[in-house]
Amino acid sequence: MSDVIVSISVILLAITSILMIVITDWRVRIGLLAIQYFGEFFLISLSWPVAMAVSKLVAGWMAGAVLGMALASNPIVPQEEAARQKPANPPARPARRFPILRLHPASIFYLLSALLVGLFALSVTPVVQSWIPEIQSEQVLAGLLLIGMGILQLGFRGDPFSTILGLLTVLSGFEIIYAAVELSTLVAGLLAAINLSLALVGAFLILAPQLREGE
């Protein structure tokens, strides 16, 4: 595969994982997750046959669809998001053209933290690559970036949706690195099953407070 596509995949993963931390709209975050799995697919296909790598893409998109359906049918918007979208006494401001991209002070802090994680991943990549000779440096960088951004997301947000997104991001990063060293079909299947099950658990946790016993 051409180096350009690999580099684009790494950049795509970096952008999507950072935006997933900054943006609060769940629809956009689900879309970013879908794009993230696309980048993951390209990087895994460097180590695995394309037919096997596609399983990651399909499992990831299915996970995103499960989460999206749960949120679409949820009558209550996640509390944190609602609080951020509708402040108690909103100041009068002119309407913005792209409200999603509005930068809160918190978002600037998230961006700076993401930058630190990115720099850390960049500096650690050669060391990790020396531990795993089978792997390419782009795979290591993308894997470490996703693991770092996922952990950052887990630390910054405490609602079930963000927790599951964070875990799926960490798992994606791990899968990119692990794909270079393990070709077992059973492991691929189990990891895909874990991705899907995580999404199902996330859907359950999003809807559980509104469900009645037995539903």
């Binding site: 692990y178 077992s184 299947g189 874990i194 946790l205």
Partner: protein
């Protein structure tokens, strides 16, 4: 016929079927509990790998359970030597499920409990066994609906549990690959150290070892106590079996400096910290959570003692555990632990249904409304604290002698931890029996609850008074 098909695939299928029938609660209870009891009985009576004659006539064909099942090139192996573990897993699960029928447990508990038992059986039978981390993760994901049932807000502790267990799984799976590298380059000390760190961190998270045990009291405070206790009991048990498997097959790990001692030290920190922090809690659920932390610490101390005995790190005459059959000792530790946790959690669930909450302000005077539950809670907590003449005492005495032989400071820390549990229990008793105005004694527990609490309490006392019967029972299970 195939053993993994019977003890892994069959219960998963049954769990799936009864999940779809979960609104027929009586049917789900009968089927789920019967299947567990049947699988335990089958594991006890039917040998694996040898021919079993059907009927008395030679003309009839024989039945043979093969040991292994191959899935995508990896094997699930259940040998005849592993039958006692199968008995313990399915009998233990059946007893937990029976207990859930007398309280207000979630309808999901029985199908998910059965599936978790099957997945944990798969985890201890998969080869190479480091794939077990993936199967344990599947079981963890099934635990989430048990800890956060429908209709109630999601406890923050459940999210933490999910995060720690998932990160632990990732580290364990990666450590599995590193272990293979170490076996190729056994003299690479850097690689050995990296593997040990990765494995150690993964093990800390998977087994909820300090500092990754914070979720336990958080969950115990708000979750249904009985179903949460099932998770607290089952996951560390399987993680410990996983650890024993690991150290059995990769003995080089024990050569990492400080590895054995770290089990002992972290275990002691958990016993001391869990017991000490329990004193300051104002919620019966949180006290239970801290008691669970001391139990995990006890598991670690046991692992440390067994490993140091196996390595000859301490003189064999001072390590009593090293002189005992390992499997027998492990189950001698496990059975009273299961009994203690089950009775404590059942009593808490009854008190919660009476008082609507487990905060001290809510449970004040609950002993007047649920006296048998309160007595059972006291018995179970004293037993867990190693009070003499109760079920927890014999094994803790053996462990305590082993710890004291190594260091008097370690022994003192253990005693302080258990003393903390006793103080927390005494505080709870003081609150539970403090009379509100015009409070009169009445038994509000149902007959089924009284029966289970009564039988459980009697077993706790009988096992403590006559441990020889309990241990000889184990001897027949592990001939």
């Amino acid at each position: 016929m195939n053993a993994p098909l019977i003890w892994i695939v069959f219960p998963i299928l049954v769990a799936g079927v009864i999940y779809t029938l979960r609104n027929s609660t009586r049917l789900v209870k009968v089927v789920g509990i019967s299947v567990c009891l049947f699988l335990a009985l089958f594991a006890w009576q039917i040998p694996i790998g040898s021919a079993i004659p059907l009927g008395g006539l030679r003309a009839l064909p024989t039945l043979q359970l093969s040991e292994s099942l191959t899935v995508f090139g990896r094997q699930f192996i259940l040998t005849d030597a592993g039958r006692p573990v199968l008995v313990i897993i399915y009998l233990g699960t059946a007893l937990w499920l029976i207990g859930s029928t007398v309280i207000d447990a979630s309808r999901l508990f029985i199908p998910l409990g059965l599936a978790i038992a099957a997945l944990l059986t798969a985890a201890i039978s998969v080869q190479p066994f480091l794939y077990a981390a993936l199967l344990i993760q599947m079981a963890v994901l099934l635990c989430v609906p048990i800890l956060s049932p429908p209709g109630s807000p999601v406890p923050r502790g459940v999210l933490r549990f999910l995060v720690f267990e998932t990160l632990g799984m990732i580290l364990m799976v990666f450590a599995g690959w590193l272990i293979n590298r170490v076996e190729i380059n056994p003299n690479d000390q850097q690689l050995i150290l990296r593997t040990a760190i990765m494995l150690g961190l993964g093990f800390l998270m998977t087994m909820s070892i300090f500092p990754f045990s914070a979720w336990i009291p958080m969950v115990a405070e708000v979750a249904q106590p009985y179903t949460a206790a099932f998770v607290f009991f089952t996951l560390p048990e399987v993680a410990t079996l996983f650890a024993f498997n690991l150290f059995g097959s990769s003995s080089w790990i024990l050569t990492v400096p400080g590895m054995i001692n770290s089990f002992l030290v972290v275990g002691l920190v958990m016993i001391f910290g869990g017991g000490f922090l329990a004193i300051f809690q104002d919620n019966l659920g949180r006290i239970f959570g801290y008691a669970v932390i001391t139990e995990i610490g006890l598991f670690l101390v046991t692992i440390g003692q067994v490993l140091s005995g196996a390595q000859g790190a301490i003189a064999s005459d001072t390590n009593l555990i090293a002189q005992l059959p390992l499997a027998e000792f492990f189950f001698a530790l496990l059975l009273p632990r299961g009994l203690n946790l089950a009775i404590w959690a059942l009593a808490l669930a009854i008190i919660q249904s009476v008082a609507k909450d487990l905060n001290f302000s809510a449970v004040r005077g609950a002993a007047f409304r649920a006296p048998v539950a309160v007595i059972s809670l006291c018995l179970a907590s004293f037993s867990l604290a190693g009070f003499p003449l109760l079920a927890g005492y014999p094994v803790r005495a053996v462990l305590g002698i082993g710890i004291a032989a190594q260091s008097a400071v370690y022994a003192a820390l253990t005693l302080v931890g258990y003393f903390g549990i006793i103080v927390a229990t005494l505080r709870s008793i003081a609150i539970l029996v403090s009379r509100k105005e015009e409070e009169t004694w009445r038994i509000s527990e149902s007959r089924a609850q009284l029966f289970l609490l009564g039988v459980g309490g009697l077993v706790l006392v009988f096992t403590g008074l006559f441990p020889q019967f309990f241990l000889s029972g184990l001897n027949t299970l592990f001939p």
